[in-house]
């Protein structure tokens, strides 16, 4: 039994807007949230962080982040077992201009599975 993870690395360069550095997407989820209301997860007990919205033309969209992605890591920090607020904090650190995300995506998984089967 071996696990294959279908993951993609995305590098987002933050955009400065006034006093803030924005990434251009919204997150939902967290271990303190209700996982059954997550429309993007396949497993309704998954309490991970998901991308719920991507601003058009924002840094996230440019970098290739898509709506429904599950964020596994941010700059090496694990995001699968964090609270919502912790996730927000890890993404919005003031001294970081670039965030490197490790995401997984259902469409990605299905593509790989199909290619494995054919």
């Amino acid at each position: 039994l071996f696990l294959v993870s279908f993951q993609q690395r995305i590098e987002i360069h933050k955009l400065r807007q006034g006093d803030n550095l924005i990434l251009g997407f919204s997150i939902g989820g967290g271990i303190d949230q209700d996982p059954t209301q997550n429309p993007f997860s396949e497993d309704k007990t998954d309490k991970g962080i998901y991308v719920t919205r991507v601003t058009e033309g924002g840094p996230a969209e440019v970098a290739g982040l898509q709506i429904g992605d599950k964020i596994m890591q941010v700059n090496g920090w694990d995001m699968t077992m964090v609270t919502h607020d912790q996730a927000r904090k890890r993404l919005t650190k003031r001294n970081e201009e670039v965030v490197r995300l490790l995401v997984t995506r259902q469409s990605l998984q299905k593509a790989v599975q199909q290619s494995m089967m054919s």
């Binding site: 924005i22 990434l23 997407f25 919204s26 997150i27 939902g28 967290g30 303190d32 949230q33 209700d34 209301q37 997550n38 719920t52 919205r53 601003t55 919502h84 927000r88 993404l91 919005t92």
Partner: protein, 459 residues
């Protein structure tokens, strides 16, 4: 093949109404013998206990009176302490008398097949106590003519105290020990499967049997043999079976089991529709019963609207005023037919004579019960046995069948059977499990709640 079978077979015909068959005679004599035997030993036990009680009661009085009678002149005078002791003896004996009356002098509710162990134990104890007291009295006091009267009276008082403690022991053994429930008894009637569960404490098998019987009469619906049989139309189809002939085999004694197995297997393979018939028969019967019941309810309701209680200020001439009995008769006529039809359909008519119906109506009218409760409800369900007329349906003779001696205490897994002529009650015992209760403290301030969140934050 015996062609003379017409002459050689004997046919047993049923007995006519005016003759008694041999079976009846043996049964009657057996009943008579049993009851005579029972009365004898029952009376023996009671009289023995009574004699012992009387002896125990009179002994302290004898202890105190004998010195006075025999050597009065030599006794030291004994003032206030003795009077105090006399009063205490009097009251203690009174209490003992009342306590014994409350505990022992009750109409026995059942006759037990074996001696009641605890009672026998207590009687032996009392006997030993009294005998030993008499022995000491005889040796120490009578022989030596003790002068210290106060000592004698104190001796008598100590006997009364000991008797009171024996009475306390009797209360604990006979009454208190059985109160805390320890076992669950399941009583199942063999004929129709009606079952009940009861909680009892530590009892011997025979006492548990009596307990079950006491509850049987008000918990179990009355045994109605007419309800048990499958309708005839269903059963008759099953009679035709297979016949197995062995061709040419003379030593076929070993094949009998093989033959019967073959018959059963063949019968099972054959398409059998009798379950279908049974189902439809049942459904039809159900429908009929409901229809008759509806008619009965309407008839009863209507009948009861014809009478009302006489109010104080109503002006009626005396000819029109009726007592409950007459009122019952008056309204009975209008519901008689519907009731009779209903009883016949539910096969309950042996249990209700017209007299009993009238009596019940009278009862209901006197106590102003609504029609739904009164006439109808009682006849709709087969009630517990005890509500039917005593002499007909209450049998007092039950047989206790048990693998263990009936004076043994109940244990987990004990099964005993209470037999009557046409059915039996199978009683099985289970120990009430040992409950392990653990405590969990909940701080009232710890009840806090939050909304279920699904926040979305933009970063």
């Amino acid at each position: 093949q015996d062609d003379n079978w017409g002459e050689t077979t004997t046919v047993v015909t049923g007995t006519s109404e005016h003759s008694i068959s041999h079976d009846d005679i043996t049964r009657i004599t057996k009943d008579m013998e049993d009851s005579a035997h029972l009365d004898c030993s029952r009376h023996l036990g009671v009289s023995l206990a009574g004699a012992l009680a009387l002896l125990a009661f009179l002994t302290p009085l004898a202890f105190m009176l004998l010195p006075q009678l025999l050597w009065r002149e030599e006794l030291e005078p004994c003032g206030t302490p003795c009077e105090g002791l006399f009063i205490s003896v009097a009251f203690k004996l009174l209490i003992l008398l009342l306590g014994s009356w409350a505990l022992f002098f009750r109409r026995p509710k059942a006759f037990f097949p074996r001696v009641f162990v605890f009672r026998a134990l207590l009687m032996v104890l009392v006997f030993l106590l009294v005998v030993s007291y008499w022995l000491f009295y005889g040796v120490r006091i009578l022989d030596s003519r003790d002068r210290n009267y106060q000592g004698v009276v104190q001796y008598a008082v100590s006997l009364v105290d000991a008797l009171l403690f024996v009475h306390y022991l009797a209360v604990v053994l006979l009454e208190l020990r059985q109160l805390q429930p320890q076992f669950t008894l399941k009583a199942v009637r063999s004929a129709d499967g009606a079952s009940r569960f009861y909680n009892v404490g530590h009892l011997s098998i025979q006492r548990a049997a009596v307990w079950i019987l006491e509850n049987y009469y008000h918990d179990f619906p009355v045994y109605n043999p007419a309800l048990l049989n499958l309708p005839k139309s269903v059963l008759s189809k099953k009679m035709s079976g297979f016949k197995v002939y062995s061709l040419g085999e003379e030593n076929s004694t070993n094949n009998s089991t093989g033959q019967s197995r073959a018959v059963i297997a063949a019968a099972a393979r054959r398409r059998d529709n009798s379950h279908n018939e049974y189902y439809y028969e049942e459904a039809e019967h159900e429908r009929r019963v409901r229809k008759r019941r509806a008619r009965l309810v309407v008839a009863v309701e209507e009948a009861f609207t014809h009478i009302k209680r006489l109010q104080e200020d109503d002006q009626k001439n005396p000819r029109e005023i009726m007592d409950p009995r007459e009122a019952a008769q008056a309204i009975f006529a209008s519901m008689a037919r519907a009731m009779q039809k209903y009883l016949r359909t539910t096969k309950q008519q042996p249990y209700h004579t017209m007299e009993s119906i009238l009596q019940h109506l009278e009862f209901c009218i006197t106590h102003d019960m609504t029609p739904k409760v009164r006439g109808v409800m009682r006849y709709l369900t087969a009630g517990p046995t005890i509500q039917y007329h005593k002499d007909r349906w209450l049998a007092k003779q039950w047989t206790l069948v048990s693998e263990e001696p009936v004076t043994n205490g109940l244990k987990d897994g004990v099964v005993f059977v209470l037999k009557r002529q046409d059915f039996s009650l199978v009683v099985s015992t289970k120990k009430i499990p040992f409950f392990k209760l653990s405590e969990e403290f909940v701080d009232p301030k710890s009840h806090k709640f939050v909304m279920r969140l699904q926040s979305e934050t933009s970063v």
